[in-house]
Amino acid sequence: MFIQILNGLAYGGLLYIVSVGLVLIFGLRRIVNFAHGSLFMIGAYVGFSVAAIGSFWGAILIAAVVLGLVGALLDISIFRPLQREDPIVTVLVTFGLLLVLEDFAQFVWGKDFLRMPVPAMFAGSVSIFGDSFPAYRLVVIATAALVGLGLTLWLHLSKIGLYVRASNADPLTTAMQGVDTDRVSIIVVALGAALAGLSGTISAPLLALSPSMGGYILIESFIVVVVGGLGSFAGAFIAAIVIGQVHNFGLVYVPWAATMFPFVLMVAVLIWRPTGIAGSHV
């Protein structure tokens, strides 16, 4: 039982790190990046390639840095020029980007599933209350917790973090406070993309890598942010943890319907509260 909770926690934690990137960008620019899942996917592949020749930690670092740069580029070349357009324009443009990135990954890494081995130092299991549990999943939980904690501290203590939170609550007034939105935006989008890249690499040993994995994770993280309430960090956190548990318990007890549970949960939450758990306006 406890082991199952941990399994769900590992999945939920990863979902949170991926979803945070969406929350950050939405809060600042009121747009949604449909290529966000592709950033995760590219992160997984980059991590895979680096880990094949270097260390696991190096892979995580490089994936995060590379994707951070991609994020900065994304902000300068797409989000900024389109900021005065209807947000749906950005949705469709990033959807086009999703197709390009998938094709790119297929070109570089091929169509077939790739598997990244669990790093040797975490290959074993540990015993928790007498049950054995893969050590690597503990690493995943710890990383998710560290990133989540770091992000929360950053949001509450740094100047940019304060700005991002204020902007989430009220973008119009915040924009008038004389902060350079473009500079903040590059940092925030790069950070969101870096987190997607980082979580891609960390997930890689747990998943089969394929160019289409981005679509799957995109949909999962959409469920998280819609259930949590667009633009809410706390909402996304709760939603990710709950969906992680729901997903995992579904897999154990009702495997044929497990993938449906997050969707059902989402529709149920939306009937109850159309703006999601944290209920901010869209």
Binding site: I31, V32, L82, P87, I88, V89, V91, L92, V93, F95, G96, L97, L98, L99, V100, E102, D103, F104, Q106, F107, G215, L218, I219, F222, I223, V225, V226, L230, P255, W256, A257, A258, T259, M260, F263, V264, M266, V267, L270, I271, P274, V282
Partner: protein, 334 residues
């Protein structure tokens, strides 16, 4: 100042007249299509055209939702795929006659759209797009996992009787004759949607799309009209699903996958959703461009991604809209 009514009747043709005009174009368009089917001998070209028209109908549903509700759906493959599975499953288990299965295939996704619509049309803007992507994919996941019902990933072939509605089933499976059937259906639906769009209901939904709040403050309920537009758009999509199943006689979860929704959306955007016929036009461009690109490069997906980006940034009314605009300037009005 008081003679605006007479002025108006001079400027815009009255509605019955406009409808006669549209019906005339539709009849001509139908015979042009039939002529193409008669003249083009190549099976390959006709296969492509038939696929384009059927998928174009799916795109028409997606485009109509954008046009009337301003809502961009990433989940219309759900309505399409449910229609496909409805026929396939009904035939597989021999529950009902083929004709009734087709009716069911139209009713079930339309009803699902209606009830789902009551929840999701309240969710505005980008969140609606995210939500449709997720909800649409839920049906795909179900079809993948519920193997004992749907056959899972492998899909299964659909057994059809030798005649349906008195028409030989073979007609639906030959690309030449199926093109004429699909094209006829497409023309009728475009004509019908044009009449809906110019009706008071169509004008009201356009107003709600423009400004939902003010629509309420001039006295209108705004949820139900939008739900009805979604329902109608799902019905059109279901018709596409029925045609696909009759033509292809095989279903697999691919018909529910979000990449199909995405392709249909791209067709609608490329063709221009402001025009009722724009998405269908976009579908024809999509299929032929894909065929041509396939000969020179393996990167169709990247190419269509880039085309989508270019159209979004440079041609906000789509190729069809831009073309129509150019023609209008040529002819010298508007």
């Amino acid at each position: 100042m008081t003679n605006t009514v007479t002025e108006e009747s001079m400027v815009t043709p009255s509605q019955p007249l406009a409808h006669t005009y549209a019906a005339g174009i539709a009849i001509v368009a139908f015979f042009v299509g039939a002529g193409i089917a008669a003249l083009v001998a190549s099976n390959l070209a006709m296969t492509l055209l038939t696929q384009a028209v059927i998928t174009g109908l799916l795109a028409t549903g997606v485009g109509f939702l954008i046009r009337q509700n301003g809502m961009v759906s990433f989940g219309h493959a759900a309505f399409y795929g449910i229609a496909c599975y409805a026929i396939a499953l009904a035939m597989r288990h021999g529950i009902v006659r083929a004709e009734l299965a087709i009716v069911l295939a139209l009713v079930v996704p339309t009803a699902i759209a209606f009830f789902l619509g009551l929840v999701i049309v309240r969710i505005p803007g980008v969140a609606f797009s995210m939500l449709t992507l997720a909800v649409g994919q839920a049906f795909y996941e179900f079809a993948m996992k519920a193997r004992n019902v749907t056959g899972g990933e492998d899909g299964f072939s659909v057994k059809l009787p030798s005649t349906i509605f008195g028409i030989k089933t073979a007609i639906f499976q030959n690309p030449h004759t199926m093109f004429v059937v699909s094209w006829g259906v497409f023309v009728v639906i475009v004509l019908f949607l044009t009449m809906v769009a110019t009706s008071p209901f169509g004008r009201l939904t356009a107003a709600i799309r423009e400004n939902e709040e003010r629509s309420r403050f001039i006295g209108y309920e705004t949820v139900l009209p939008r739900v009805l537009v979604l329902t109608l758009s799902a019905l059109v999509t279901a018709v596409a699903g029925v045609l696909f199943t009759l033509y292809n006689t095989f279903v697999s979860p691919d018909v529910l996958h979000w990449s199909l929704s995405g392709s249909a959306l791209i067709m609608a955007i490329i063709g221009g959703p402001r025009l009722i016929w724009g998405p269908g036009f976009g579908a024809i461009i999509y299929f032929f461009a894909k065929d041509i690109a396939g000969d020179i490069s393996e990167h169709w997906q990247a190419i269509i991604g880039i085309i989508l980006i270019i159209v979004m940034v440079l041609l906000p009314t789509g190729l069809g809209g831009t073309l129509a605009g150019l023609l209008r300037r040529r002819v010298g009005y508007g």
